[in-house]
Symmetry: C2
Subunit: 393 residues, 2 copies
């Protein structure tokens, strides 16, 4: 897949009119620049520059003991090994290629485009000091966002398979949930389903799956507890598997019927339908070129218009190799989201749509779908949950 | 262990005369600041400031959905949750505590002290802009190096156990190596020994263990191949297990006797003895306060004095949670090592000593020991290899 993504990167550099993209890392097993997963399937010990240019050149300058692995990898046409310092080789390559702009991996708003450490940026400036190139460093935010966002057919295949398996496990879990079972027991059941398929979960196993039952739960990003499922509880689960390096991230909500009852209270049904409609309205509105914050507003405003509180988080994020992936998201214009709220949708991006509301007597209603952006609109990657799922006693 | 290390951090801040140490992270599951392993056993999604002061205050400012996990963790006395932006709470804490110096995790020379990304340093400067605190940011290199380097008794116990198990597996491997077995078969045997103990290896399984047999091998940081062990080969292995989060990193060399022979050629024996003596001379010279580059020089010069080439890498690095850990190392003054070559040895640090030489007709002679620095000198953490190990046909 590296060659496919590197070719895509060359096209993106041309499109964005950037001469050179440089990923500059060291000891990447300790702090791994997230771009490495697309341009090199290995780690580097000493200061290493992985260079891709708009003309299609691919150059790696690395410590000599990493050269053998780089040769085996085979994705860099020119490999330069050094012993004492990367500096002279780096300056020589700059003088030879004379790039007008050099994009490096820092970003204020996107963690996946921010793989360059502060010390390494200082080192890079020192290596280039006294040359014209020290003033030509720019943020690679747009480039990395495009590479991560625009899924190739192979990437899309893996993501579809990840969501398919995730939903299969959600269905099995619905059969397992019953009154008296604890959040932890449900989470253990899910983990067992994941491991029996030889897979791993898409994020920190401390809260993947996250399982919440009933009123007064932590509601997000917390670990399952000994709390037991009870009648009239809303049970939510936030969960996904990782399949061939690509994540799924979905949420589903069940309502636990008390003995003898066959449907959820009107208040609960209405809340779910409003939430579900807000997801669907957003999905139907999504088109390339529209901004993430415009999409967030649709769902957020629909909840407010129907008398519910707005959710205290963004509507959705991109998904890919990381569960929270890509540059832009479906975010409101809050300071913490910065530029990520103002980036346009692009063809091939995969977003979650995940509004939430709290019903004080029952628990939390959540729903999280994944959609992929096409030329003419968005398409569900996951089979959407259209009605509240019921647990019968 | 977090409380123990945070208490140690407070003492180090007092010693270094630094008012505040701030670890500033976001999406730490994607890029994990290596300091988190000492001060928080969890990951953070949104911009998060973990603050420890010389007065012993511990404050966490985090996205609201991370607050429940922080409370469970219990290591921060003051926990502040936010929804839209970390900025106001961060500025309020600064105004309240009024630190004269704020150490943040960037370092030119030490990857484990360089956990702050370039974009996050820019965000931090923006949050503090217009306040006196934006000009009070300094590198936490010395602080992080001391925290990682100065092992507590519990950390030392884990490291001793990691080296003990690693040497046990080296011994078993010596029984397995024989003429005709490939590097890959030997590596598979080692992996099986590791997994049967329920452990994992200390670094990338692509080259842990690294196994090299005979002349003309890659020699370091490359994966085991189909090359078969043959008579008169030198076989080296670079390997370690991770035990309760702490790494071992050792190397051993075997000589493969041709049928009918009972000892290695004089040339091979002499090379090993010179190498082993250079290790032992270094270990005996190590004392708190001496510089890493002085230790590197002892072994390097001893090899040169005995007519061998110098090795194209540093003599040794620190070990801990990471295989390449800590600030200073036993490094020559090459540009790539920067300040790390000029840092003093401190009590409680664990270093490898790993010179190397190549014998064109036989292969590579390597040896890697681990030592811990005491008040009066260094002590071997691993039982040293004192003679060349022989494989009998």
């Amino acid at each position: 897949m590296y060659k496919e993504k590197i070719e895509q990167a060359v096209g993106i550099l041309q499109e964005k009119n950037i001469d050179m993209w440089m990923t500059f890392v060291r000891e990447s097993a300790i702090m791994r620049d997230p771009s490495l997963s697309f341009i090199a399937g290995m780690d580097f010990t000493w200061q290493t520059a992985l260079i891709i240019t708009a003309k299609g050149e691919t150059i790696a300058i690395a410590g000599q003991y990493d050269v053998a692995s780089l040769e085996t990898l085979g994705t860099y046409r020119e490999i330069i090994g050094y012993v004492q310092s990367v500096r002279e080789d780096l300056r020589a390559v700059m003088q030879r290629l004379d790039p007008k702009t050099i994009a490096v991996n820092y970003s204020l708003s996107s963690p996946t485009a921010d793989g360059l450490t502060a010390g390494m940026l200082m080192n890079l400036r020192e290596h280039l000091s006294g040359t014209p190139y020290q003033d030509r460093l720019v943020s690679a935010n747009e480039i990395v966002s495009a590479i991560r966002g625009r899924k190739t057919p192979e990437e899309e295949r893996r993501m579809r398979e990840a969501t398919r398996i995730t939903l299969e496990i959600f269905e099995a879990t619905g059969q397992f949930i019953r009154i008296g079972r604890s959040e932890k027991e449900i989470a253990d059941f899910v983990m067992n389903e994941v491991e029996s398929r030889g897979l791993e979960v898409a994020w920190d196993p401390a809260h993947c799956p996250a399982v919440y039952s009933g009123p007064g739960t932590a509601g997000a990003h917390a670990s399952p507890t000994e709390r037991k499922v009870g009648p009239t509880h809303l049970v939510n689960m936030d969960f996904g598997v990782k399949y061939e390096g690509y994540c799924a991230d979905l949420q589903r909500t069940w309502y636990v019927l008390p003995p003898g009852e066959s449907e959820a209270p009107a208040e609960v049904q209405r809340a779910f339908q409003v939430l579900q409609t807000s997801v669907d309205k957003t999905a139907k509105a999504m088109k390339p070129g529209l901004l993430g914050k415009e999409m967030d507003h649709i769902s957020r405003q629909y909840l407010l218009d129907n008398g519910y509180e707005e959710f205290p988080h963004g509507l959705g994020h991109q998904v890919g190799r990381e569960c929270h992936d890509g540059g832009g998201g479906l975010f409101p214009e809050w300071e913490k989201y910065g530029e990520a709220a103002r980036m346009p949708l692009e063809v091939g991006q995969v977003y979650t749509i995940e509004p939430r509301m709290t019903l004080p007597d029952y628990g939390v209603v959540t729903l999280e779908e994944e959609v992929i952006v096409r030329e003419n609109g968005a398409e569900y990657l996951s089979k959407p949950q259209e009605t509240l799922w019921l647990i019968k006693s």
